[in-house]
Amino acid sequence: MSISSEDARHVAGLARLELTDKELRAYTEQLNQILNYARELEKLHTDNIEPTYSSLNTGTLLREDKVCNFTDQAGLLENGPEVAGSSFVVPRIL
């Protein structure tokens, strides 16, 4: 299985990355190299093996979903590239 530069363009779209044609060519080649190396995995029979999503035996522990205020709201807004009042401004969607 190898990926074409069209596949790479599709993936770049999914990843929200605007890539130049030169970057796309380079990444297509490098991804194929890496995926080719990953083909090694196909040799392994894993049909009866359970996946390990986390190395913790306890799984993910949940806490009570309590609302608490963040103390430095002004600081958060200061990091915003464009802010109006307590909102982050983005370019028009419609």
Binding site: L31, S54, N79, V90
Partner: protein, 482 residues
């Protein structure tokens, strides 16, 4: 005084033979003298650090050291750890100028223990890399040889400790990012068991693999820092609630009768001959101390690197989705729509390796490929855990080189991603299984340090540090001093 270990500096402080202000001044003099070449620091907090040092001296004068095991000791942080009010860049253009509004739990624990924070340290952008060459901000050099890389991704954290520009640092380790640079710079690097140290406030890369840990001059120093940063935190849902332990407790116990196994898959092909020789000599010294050393085959390891790069990049592609130019970080100003703004901001803000990994991870998670790549990789992870479990049924620890080579020259691997990834081949299985692992300097090859990696079962850091301390005692390794 900057050459002292953390433990030695603490002893002098507690005995009143020096002050925190003097220690801190000494560190800043060292920084001033050597940073032009080493370039480990991205930010330096001279004023704040000296204020912290003065406050610590007041407490020391009163004998008020309870609950403050690091009182007055200068330490530094990898720049992917949040400290409220400071810039956190992850060595990326996309976060340049970003000011943290909260403090990572591990960092807060250092502050609560009285530590003086000297600054933030360089890394591969978003901790993705093995040489720190992927930093978008500056080039950190190896204090042993300025033509060579310090390793990565915690390259700044390792170089600063090796150059005596701090008494210890905190880094993060997703696939070897603490241990490999520690090996390259001739210091100690510890990756704790997944879940032992809270990840809250660490900028996420591969969430099921990331762990914060210390980089230090000695094994004992690593244990001292682990004592402070370990522990349950409700702000990290993967943090494990366990009774506290004193990780320094067994450091002086001998290792006679300990059963150690050299990993067959990491002792032959793919490992440089000089590195193998340094490890062999180290093994002889461990034998002299009464350890029983055998070889163990862990056949799943040959699949570890491929599995890792699928798991880590998949998780990274999801974690890095938050950098979209809306709430923080770089934003492209010319985009006409929101989608275009996302795409351009990310394209301009991320460097080549980060983009490459986002692409690989997005592909591995995309429709039609999920089972073949991501799911398959997670199954390989199970096989790796099973291999370790079989080994640990018979042995106390498994050993290997930390890295297949000593520090390489700048530019040697930048154009070949796969060859760069291969430098993590020995460290990656430890993360996939969530185990604790440590790199201890064990000798020199071509005048450059070689690291011995030791791994033990989960939450057995005491035993890990005991074996590491025995290796350190018998290695005869001497740190370099600039």
């Amino acid at each position: 005084m900057h050459k002292l270990s953390l433990k030695e500096a603490r002893r002098k402080l507690w005995r009143g033979e020096t002050t925190s202000e003097l220690l801190t001044e000494n560190v800043f003099q060292q920084i001033q003298a050597h940073e032009p070449v080493v370039q480990a620091y991205l930010s330096i907090y001279r004023e704040q650090a000296l204020a912290q040092a003065k406050a610590a001296d007041e407490r020391l004068k009163k004998g008020d050291t309870d609950g403050a095991p690091l009182l007055g000791l200068p330490l530094a942080l990898k720049d992917n750890l949040n400290l409220a009010g400071t810039e956190t860049t992850c060595a990326s253009k996309i976060l340049k100028g970003y000011i943290s509004r909260y403090t990572a739990t591990a960092v807060q624990k250092l502050l609560d223990a009285g530590a003086v924070i000297t600054g933030k340290l360089n890394l591969d952008e978003f901790a993705m890399g093995s040489s720190t060459e992927n930093s978008a901000l500056q080039k950190t050099t190896n204090p042993w040889d300025k033509e060579r890389v310090p390793g990565g991704s915690s390259g700044g954290a390792a170089a600063a400790v090796a150059a005596d520009e701090c008494f210890g640092s905190l880094g993060s380790d997703t696939g070897g990012s603490i241990r490999q640079p520690a090996a390259f710079c001739g210091i100690v690097g510890l990756k704790p068991t997944y879940g032992l140290v809270s990840r809250y406030g660490l900028v996420a890369f591969g969430s099921s693999l990331d762990q914060i840990g210390p980089l230090t001059k000695t094994v004992e120093d690593a244990a001292l820092l682990l004592n402070v940063i370990a522990g349950y935190d409700e702000k990290d849902s993967t943090s494990v609630n366990r009774p506290p332990e004193d990780y320094t407790a067994d450091l002086n116990s001998d290792i006679a009768g300990k059963r150690l196994a050299v990993i067959k898959e990491l002792s032959g092909e793919g490992i440089d001959a000089g590195v193998r020789q340094a490890i062999e000599k180290m093994l002889d010294k461990l034998r002299e101390q009464g350890a029983v050393i055998e070889t163990v085959a862990l056949p799943s390891f040959k699949y570890a690197l491929a599995a890792y790069y699928l798991v880590a990049t998949s998780e990274a592609s999801a974690n890095l989705a938050r950098f979209d130019g809306v709430r923080f970080g770089h934003r492209n100003k010319s985009a006409r729509g929101t989608l275009e703004m996302f795409k351009r901001s990310r394209a301009e803000g991320f460097g080549p390796e980060v983009k490459r990994r986002i692409m690989l991870g997005t592909y591995a998670l995309s429709a039609g490929y999920y089972d073949a790549y991501y799911l398959k990789a997670q199954k390989v992870r199970t096989l790796i855990r099973q291999d370790y479990a079989r080994a640990f049924a018979k042995y106390d620890a498994v050993l290997s080189p930390t890295s297949p080579s000593v520090a390489f020259k700048f530019g040697a691997k930048v154009n070949d991603p796969l060859s760069m990834y291969l430098s993590d081949i020995a460290t990656i299985p430890v993360n996939l299984a969530g185990l604790p692992g440590i790199s201890v300097p064990c000798g020199l090859e071509n005048k450059l340090p070689v690291g011995l990696q030791i791994a033990t079962p989960e939450f057995t850091e005491r035993k890990l540090l005991q074996i590491a301390a025995a290796a350190e005692r018998s290695s005869g390794f001497e740190r370099m001093h600039l």
